[in-house]
Structure formats: structure tokens, C-alpha cells
Symmetry: C2
């Protein structure tokens, strides 16, 4: 079938072991330059490729990492795994990639281990099913909004967004979000900012666009009746839709109602009113996840978690920049919003 080490050895008139020593590049055994050349020649001539299974069976490292995300519905993270994969490739690791939504996380982890991954990176933003990483025989690196190896302080992000609106003088600030039943850290941050200013969020300011079927009425009431003058959205997509609806209603942003988003999607500056938002540092997260994995692979010492501080992007939707701002500070070619690059330390 396929060309094996034995074939190469026979072709080069050497033993299998000599061929192995040369082609594995381990340098554990001295081989003369002449035979080395003969072996290489035979290998390329026959088109030899190591059989990874054979190598692994002997106990060799697989140089592969399992990468797993349990929810693909969050657009801002759609490229996170791509970035992780690129970084892993740079570190000379193969990526075994799986998207789980709904299915058993444990089953995927078992499959990864069965295939010999050296470690597993798990991105678990959003709703969290039960699973235990305690007994996992390989190191794991977890990314989620709390209690993880790498996390973004989204509570602080929402806090800063709400606080920013407070500093603009707003008092009646609403929060637009889907009520999925779990604890919403962004909601908590929003609440903290208001509480700090001596304001208690009333129920009608909590604009649940899910599972509420009549979300338009909810928004209408908040704006028309409850005197809401600013709205924090739990993500940019919702903020964009919200602004569209407000514009449809003839309500001006930010003059009548200010809006703040969350995520830092690349399109925020292209909206009718450039959206102020909290940036998710996707590239930095990807880099940190991989670095953390390398650290865990090298030593089993417990490493303190990294919590990334959120950063604001100020567009016009919060009321910061005047309509007539003359300078154009963007380039048609640099489409990326996030300032982070992973070339730092």
C-alpha cells in the first residue's frame, strides 16, 4: 500500500533502524554522512511519509491539540478558533477542531483523548452544560466569562459602558438582552454602575428581547412611557437592529436615545450612526489561549488565570463625538478594529 520505513531502508541498503534515526531527525544516533544521504535520496525517491499512527503507538508525542467550542452562535467569536488554529500551527501543532452545540461535550473530549491530543482548548462562552475537566488526563485551557484560564471581564465591560452613559448625564438607562435564564454578568455590571450612581434599575428598563415575543412594544414603552434616554445592548448585532428600529420610529441616535453596544464587530463604524461599543479582544484571547496551553504542557504547575480588561470603542451613538466631526480617521484598507496584535511579548 503505502511506502514504509522498511521500503526506504531496503532501497538504501541499510537497516530500518538507520533509516528511522535519519528520517525522524532525532539525532540520537550517529549516522555517517554517506548513508544519511542515501537514505534521504531513497525517501524522496519513493515519496516516503511517516505514518503518524506507528510513531504515536510507540509513545511519541502527537503534536496535536484538540480545540473545541460549544456554541457557534456568537458572531464576534466566529474567527477566534481560526486565530487559535493559526497560532497553534505557528507553534508546530496540528489542530483537531470540533464545534459542539447541544451535544455532549464529554463525548468530544473522550474522542480527542482517544486520538491522542496533548491538550484541549475549550471556548465555552454562553450557556454552560455540565461537564468536568477534573479527571481529564491531558491539560485543558478554558475560555469563558468566569472562572477560567483566560476570560474577559464582561461585567466590567458592561459597567464601563453604563458608566460612560451616566457620565453623559443619562439617568434612565435601559439594558437590552436576551433572557436565557442563566446569570448575566453584563446585566450585573450594568446594575453595579447604576447602583453606584444611586439609581436602581426598574423592571421596565430591562428590555428582554427573548423570550418576549413583543419586543417592539417593550422598546416602545421604555422610550415613550418610561423616559429611557439611553440603552445598553448586550451585543452589537442587537444594538444595530435596535438603532434601525429607533430610526424607523423617527427617534434620533444619540440625540433622543443614546445606544451602546458590546463586542466590537468590525462593522460598527459603518453603521448609520457609528456604534460605541466594548471591544472583545479576539486576537489577544486566541494568543493567550495558545500560550497558556504551551505553559501547561511544559510544566504542571498551577498558573494563575488571566482576566482581560475590556476596552471601549467610542463611536457616535453614545453622544461622544459631534455629528460634524470633520476628520476621517479610518482607512478603507485596514478593516480590523481591534488594536491588539499578537506579536507582543
Amino acid at each position: 500500500m503505502s511506502v514504509t520505513l522498511k521500503d526506504v531502508a531496503r532501497h538504501a541498503n541499510v537497516g530500518v533502524s538507520a533509516a528511522s534515526y535519519v528520517l525522524s531527525g532525532s539525532g540520537l544516533h550517529k549516522v555517517s554522512e554517506a548513508t544519511r544521504a542515501r537514505i534521504f535520496a531513497a525517501a524522496t525517491q519513493l515519496g516516503y511519509r511517516v505514518n503518524h499512527a506507528g510513531r504515536m503507538l510507540h509513545g511519541g508525542k502527537s503534536r496535536s491539540i484538540g480545540v473545541l467550542e460549544n456554541n457557534r452562535s456568537i458572531p464576534v467569536f466566529s474567527e477566534l478558533m481560526q486565530l487559535v488554529c493559526k497560532e497553534l500551527a505557528f507553534l508546530d501543532y496540528q489542530t483537531l477542531y470540533q464545534v459542539v452545540d447541544g451535544g455532549s461535550l464529554q463525548a468530544v473530549i473522550d474522542e480527542f483523548i482517544s486520538r491522542g491530543v496533548e491538550g484541549i482548548i475549550i471556548a465555552d462562552y454562553g450557556f454552560t452544560p455540565q461537564y468536568s475537566l477534573e479527571h481529564c488526563p491531558v491539560p485543558t485551557v478554558l475560555f469563558r466569562s468566569f472562572d477560567a484560564d483566560v476570560s474577559v471581564d464582561i461585567e466590567a465591560g458592561a459597567y464601563r459602558a453604563a458608566r460612560h452613559l451616566l457620565e453623559h448625564g443619562h439617568r434612565n438607562i435601559a439594558y437590552l438582552y436576551p433572557d436565557t435564564g442563566g446569570t448575566d454578568l453584563k446585566l450585573r455590571g450594568y446594575r453595579r454602575a447604576l447602583a453606584e450612581a444611586g439609581i436602581e434599575a426598574v423592571d421596565s428598563w430591562l428590555l428582554k428581547i427573548f423570550p418576549t415575543p413583543h419586543w417592539r412594544e417593550v422598546i416602545d414603552r421604555a422610550v415613550d412611557v418610561d423616559g429611557v434616554t439611553a440603552i445598553c445592548a448586550s451585543c452589537d448585532d442587537y444594538a444595530a437592529k435596535l438603532m434601525r428600529y429607533l430610526s424607523f420610529r423617527g427617534i434620533r441616535v444619540p440625540d433622543d436615545v443614546a445606544v451602546f453596544g458590546y463586542d466590537g464587530m468590525r462593522y460598527v463604524e459603518d453603521l448609520a450612526v457609528p456604534l460605541s461599543t466594548v471591544i472583545q479582544p479576539v486576537e489577544r484571547i486566541a494568543y493567550l489561549l495558545c500560550r497558556r496551553m504551551m505553559e501547561k504542557l511544559e510544566s504542571s504547575l498551577s498558573i494563575p488565570p488571566v482576566i482581560l480588561a475590556p476596552e471601549l470603542y467610542l463611536g457616535r451613538s453614545c453622544g461622544c463625538r459631534p455629528q460634524s466631526k470633520p476628520a476621517i480617521d479610518w482607512s478603507i484598507l485596514s478593516l480590523a478594529l481591534n488594536p491588539q496584535t499578537h506579536t507582543e511579548s
Copy 2:
């Protein structure tokens, strides 16, 4: 180290072969219900996991597919690989994932084969480096804009976009694109539409935003001097930036200059002026790539390629829908633009 089949067999008081027959689930050999139960019990008790390397070494199928894209810079495709992976998981295949940009494609393919993938899916949109899939020992499925197993007829897409603008009465239609040196199929489609209408695209209508450093002047000249009244952009991101620049210049879209995009990014309907665009059917592409792979794995018959016809999304930027359109036909919850689902045949 890890618990092996031998351990399980010893624990259940049977031979390795019996354990193998039961746990591999092949059903090649009759095993009594009693011993079968004993073996399962021992396996779960010891926490047995098949060693994939051992299985593969014997010549078993790896049930893994290599997935490879050579350019991650096109945002609309950032979720394509995610969808492919999900579909493969549904078909009970593992995904080995690699992003190549700049590096050797051949090296990645070799690595995949070395790791025993049963097939390779390659998404090669954009610039194409030299490589040959002729001698690849496993089936490959290629996605790119021409001469592939699955492709989207982007020439026709650009043709339809330009033709649509012609039907609106525009005669001086420009094309905004980055000139990367290769053949631009969208440019060709744009040209064909104009030629069919008896118009020859003059040079100053070809708005090269790359490598041109002074792209603003290029746009200014087209609009102010050359009387361009409509612009086709080669992607939505550029179209969005273009509309922002036009708005900055005080030029109204679509009244003064109509704009057409390309890609069908999810945000197009949220822009100041909802962008008319050509949809890239990402989900359908993902589904077809996987189905094509399954077909190739089952039979080595040559299968004719699939060329997907592009579909237009008409927003307001082309001048189709009046400003005052009263109905709101979107839902804040359904963020997806593409109508395709992969549940069809």
C-alpha cells in the same frame, strides 16, 4: 500508563480478541450476552478508551478529514470552516483543521496524509499558489471561484449586480476593487454586463483601492469628473467604507450615486443605507463540500462539479426600494441573511 484492551480483557477474564470484538462493535464475531456484559462492565469500570493509533496502524479507517483554507482574510468565509466542521461531525468524522496563508500548501497536505486523513477539503478562495492535487493519495474536494468541485459563479454574480444597476438606468458604472494582479472574475462579469449594453468600461471607472495609495482621489475623480452614477464594489466591507466616504462627502446614496456590494454580510441591512449585494451562500457551500467528500469516499467515479448560481439581496443602496418603505420585514432575533439551510435533499 493508559488502560488498554489487554487490561480490560484480564479484568473481564476473557481473551483480548473477545474484548476487541465487543468493544469495537464490529459484530464480526459472535459473543455471548454474558461475556459481552462482563467486558462492557470492565471497560467502563477501568475507564477504557480505544487508542486510535493502534486501531489505525492495523489499517482501520481514521474517520477524519483534513480541512484546509489558504487565506483567512475574507470575512464572509470566516464561518465557512465552522459550518464544514459541524457537518463533518454530524457525519461522524473528525476535523483536522489548518489555515495556511503564505506557507506551503503542499506541506500541510503531506502532514494531513501522514496523519491518516481519509480526504481533504480545500477552500482556496482568492490568490492561488502553485500546488498539485494530482498525486494526492486521498480524495480532495476543492472550493474556489473556478475549476473546482464546488464553486460560486462570481462572474455571474458581478454580472447580475452590474446588470441590475444598468436596469436602473445607470450608464457610467464604476467597479471598486483591489488589484492583486490575478484575473478578477468579478471584474470580468462587470465588464460583460456593460459590454452587453453597448458600454465599454473606461479606465477611470476601474477604482483600484489597492495598491493605489490615493484611493480617495480615485473615487473623487470618478464621481466629480467622470460622471459615475453607480459603483459596484468587490465586497461588502469595501462597499460599506465607500458609502461612509460618500456620505462624508455629502453625496447621497442611492440618489446621487448607487452602490452595490458583494458577499451578503449579515450587517448589510443595518447600514445607514441598507446595502444591495450578492449573497455568498456560505451554508450551502459548506454542505455541498461535505456531501461531495462523502461521494468521493464512497466511489471513485468522477463526479461533475457544482457551480452555484449567485443570488441578489436588494436593499436600498441600488435605488430599488423607496426611502419611505413603511414595512419592517426583519426580526431582531433572526440575524441570518442567507435563506439557505442545509436540511434540503
